[in-house]
Amino acid sequence: MTTLIDAPPSDADALLPSKKKAAGGGLGQYILVRFLLIFPTILILVTMVFFLMRITGDPITAAMGGRLPPDQLQERIHAAGYDRPLLVQYFEYLGQLATGNFGTTLSDNRQVTEMLTTYGAATLELSINALIVALLVGIPLGMVAAHRRDHLPDAVLRILAILFYATPVFFAGMLLKLVFSVWLHWLPVAGRAGTRTELSLTALEAPTGIYWLDALRSGNMAAFSDVMSHAVLPALALGLLTAGIFLRLVRTNVIGTLGKDYVEAGRSRGVSEFRLVTKHAYKPALIPIITVMGLQIAVMLGGAVLTETTFEWKGLGFQLANYLTARDFVAVQGIVVLLAVIVAVTNFIVDIVAALIDPRVRY
């Protein structure tokens, strides 16, 4: 799910012109190279997913085998073209992807791309909410832990971070539901909003699909508080898990930069410890932090699948789980490839942001 191992920087980092002193136009070149790297990444994943899922047979047999007589099954397989050579199918699939066609689901005959527009916003909303929780909790606490290193606050925070990490997101969600919804009746059990709110929000003109944003824009405060009350528990479940990882990440990297000569130099000029941690040590630490956070955003998508299932939050992950249960592997493949594209693009943006922070790249 998530990883605690400090990942060595990928090779893309080696392309950073930072090691060269003369970096004329270095940033533009870096962005271009990094952008071009998106495509092999996606291609590799698409290829792997395609071939792996076809090794075991065609999707129609998987979905309907046993429910249809063999001759009808053969007919449908032939009609869908699954009896042609694999390579032909592969290149046809690539061609479809290039035109933005991610396939049609078997079980309910919908375009996978349509799924993105229908459910993408829900997943995006959950991810944003969780990311806000993770950043608000993880970064300040990580700095506190680094500053009070090896003392009581650090000990408590570290054990808390490991506890967050060790609790599977669906178990955390279950516990939160049990306590706040079932026992205390403070918050709703599941879903993104009450029925009435949902209707009023979808009826809006040009909705963004992110409910709290729509509610705010329409000025409907009742709807807003309803949306927020639904959002709290999923955001906490997914956000705290990620916060544990962010906390550890910030702590490790800030401890690393706190030991550098330039922090000692700041100290020798009379700069306060608070400022040394929050400025002098934090900003240089931010470059590796952001890079790893980028990877964590991808990981959060995986967590979103589980969170959405736990809270019946109707996003891409929830749909994925449904199609898995229905054994509709065309839909599964489509969603997985779609997520691959999202991940690749997110990582690209994060890498650019990390590079922008580093003046050695900018100048």
């Binding site: 003369a22 009379g270 900003k283």
Partner: protein
């Protein structure tokens, strides 16, 4: 200038006040192996406008003493005694009061300018940080960003950064190494502290840059009356800058004396040995009295002809020419000294001869084998004839193998001796480098730096090579250890008679060993000749500058050389 230096400081000493007074300082570190007493009992003082040098080898406690002055010891350290700065005891001060003193009363200059500057902030911001930290606390109200920046510009101007109004917005990586050290000094000067603690301020710099930084520090003392505590292991630097010298050894002060007196008539045994071990340009030259290049009738081991070595540039940036059209020969029995500053390409040449780097143009013949388009399989049989000694003795042994296993490795690969033969040979080799044969069973981390470098030499000699490449073999060692290793090296070379390429940045060291010396500058071999002639009568401009900027461990002679250096640069 040179004449009145001593007398000026003598006169000053009487009427100037004491800015720093250390009394019976003790510092203890907690380590895995138990408590270590880094500073045992140190008492010293420094007057206004004085440069006090604290010299010593590694483990002497000089850096720890320096850090104590600013209260910068880590949590694992505990200290006792008194460190008085303008009458305030730093050791017993609260954290908040300590911050007030840092930067305002005492500032620090670090060894490595590239790590002492924060890479993600502009230099102006970093200098202003110190100014603002104090303004907010000293009740002077907040200093506006504009004012702080103006003062940062002023500080940069003081240390001779050209165009400071513009450069104040630069990031550290936009400065060269010497300029970075100037920025570090500017940051230290920002609040006009009366005392600067400079911890090895020139050790990370090339010798020509070192001369400029020393000049700058001298200026500060002369113009602003700043007192400087100079921590260094380099006796040449001491001779160049210090008024008074404290010699430390294993946490204690061995001797304290005015600089001229200390160099002229050292009282203590340790000081005498230390001074004797420092290589002195022009003394003990291996080529003393030679008029002709020796060993020219012997077999030519290495022949470079118009050699070019390029490192490919990344992504369209042009390739970097590390070595550019270098030609030389090296014969059996001869020691060829290759000198140059960082980035001159000296190490690249050494590595190319050993087949660790590829050559990209011209010709390089090693033992008759053309290294251009090297093929490992055909070169391998020749490898037993090439020995290599690396700079860092700590990193050049596999930590998982014993010294004996490491030394036997070349034999196991080439001659496949029996166990008993190998053990016998390892014992002989260890004895020839003056280590007990029993050390074969030890692991690398159980040896000291000098011992490891001897073992490294033994490994290089294990197959009796015709050619030996030594890449800065003594740079990581203390001077007293360096002197012994150099002596051993000289003896062994005479005994075994191999041809040797000796690479070093230190002219004096090269002069002791090599009869024939080549000077590299930006990838080009600007001058080569008999050692004593190159050192005594350099022809090329760069060589002249290089030699003039090397400080010699003798204050009187150094004062004279400094004048010549200034004349050369036209100051």
């Amino acid at each position: 200038m040179s004449e009145n230096l001593g007398s000026v400081s003598d006169r000053r000493e009487q009427d100037r006040k004491t800015v720093l007074d250390i009394n019976h300082l003790q510092v203890t570190f907690a380590t895995d192996a138990g408590d270590v007493r880094a500073v045992k009992d140190v008492s010293l003082d420094i007057k206004a406008g004085e440069v006090l040098a604290i010299v010593g080898e590694s483990g002497s406690g000089k850096t720890v003493t320096a850090k104590t002055i600013l209260g910068l010891l880590p949590e694992t350290a505990s200290s006792s005694g008194a460190v008085l700065i303008n009458g305030t005891n730093v050791i017993s001060l609260s954290a908040a009061r300590l911050r007030q003193i840092r930067g305002r009363d005492v500032a620090m200059v670090f060894q490595e300018p590239s790590t002492a500057l924060n890479p993600v902030f502009t230099v102006g911001w970093q200098i202003a940080e110190g100014i603002r930290a104090h303004a907010a606390r000293d009740g002077g109200g907040r200093v506006s960003a504009k004012e702080a920046k103006a003062r940062a510009v002023e500080a940069l101007r003081k240390v001779g950064i050209p165009d400071p109004e513009h450069r104040v917005n630069y990031y550290p990586h936009q400065f060269s190494g010497g300029q970075k050290q100037r920025v570090v000094i500017a940051a230290a000067l920002a609040l006009n502290p009366g005392l600067i603690v400079a911890d090895e301020p020139t050790t990370a710099l090339d010798v020509t840059v070192q001369a400029e930084i020393l000049e700058l520090l001298r200026d500060l003392r002369d113009k602003y009356g700043t007192s400087i505590v100079l921590i260094t292991h380099n006796m040449g630097v001491v001779a160049d800058l210090a008024d008074r010298v404290v010699v430390m050894y294993q946490g204690d002060i061995v001797e304290e004396a005015p600089a001229r007196k200390l160099f002229a008539e050292p009282r203590q045994d340790y000081t005498r040995r230390l001074l004797a071990a420092v290589p002195h340009l022009g003394r003990n030259s291996a080529s003393e009295g030679l008029t002709q290049r020796p060993h020219q009738d012997e077999e030519v081991l290495v022949a470079a002809d118009n050699l070019v070595i390029e490192y490919p540039g990344r992504l369209g940036t042009p390739a970097f020419k590390a070595v550019d059209g270098v030609s030389f020969t090296l014969s059996r029995g001869e020691v060829f000294g290759l000198v140059g500053e960082s980035g001159s390409g000296k190490t690249t040449i050494g590595r190319a001869i050993a087949g660790l780097n590829r050559t990209t143009g011209g010709s390089l013949k090693v033992l008759g084998y053309e290294m251009l388009n090297l093929r490992e399989r055909t070169f391998k049989p020749l490898r037993k004839d090439v020995g290599f000694v690396f700079q860092d003795p700590a990193a050049s042994f596999n930590p998982q193998l014993t010294i004996g296993e490491c030394i036997a490795e070349p034999m196991l690969i080439h001659t496949r001796p029996s166990d008993a033969q190998a053990r016998k040979r390892v014992g002989e080799l260890l004895e020839s480098v003056q280590l007990p044969a029993s050390y074969a069973g030890r692991y690398p981390h159980e040896l000291s730096g000098g011992q490891r470098q001897r073992a490294s030499l033994a490994r290089a000699l294990s197959l009796n090579p015709r050619l030996l490449i030594a890449d800065e073999p003594t740079s990581a060692l203390d001077v007293s250890v360096q002197a012994k290793v150099l002596e051993l090296f000289k003896d062994i070379q005479e005994e075994f008679g191999f041809g040797c390429l000796f690479i070093s940045h230190d002219l004096a060291v090269v002069d002791i060993l090599s009869s024939w010396v080549g000077v590299l500058y930006k990838g080009k071999l600007v001058e080569q000749g008999i050692g004593s002639q190159v050192m005594g009568n350099p022809q090329h401009d760069y060589t002249r500058r290089l030699i003039a900027s090397l400080p010699v461990p003798d204050p009187a002679e150094q004062a004279k050389r400094r004048e010549e250096h200034r004349a050369l640069l036209g100051i």
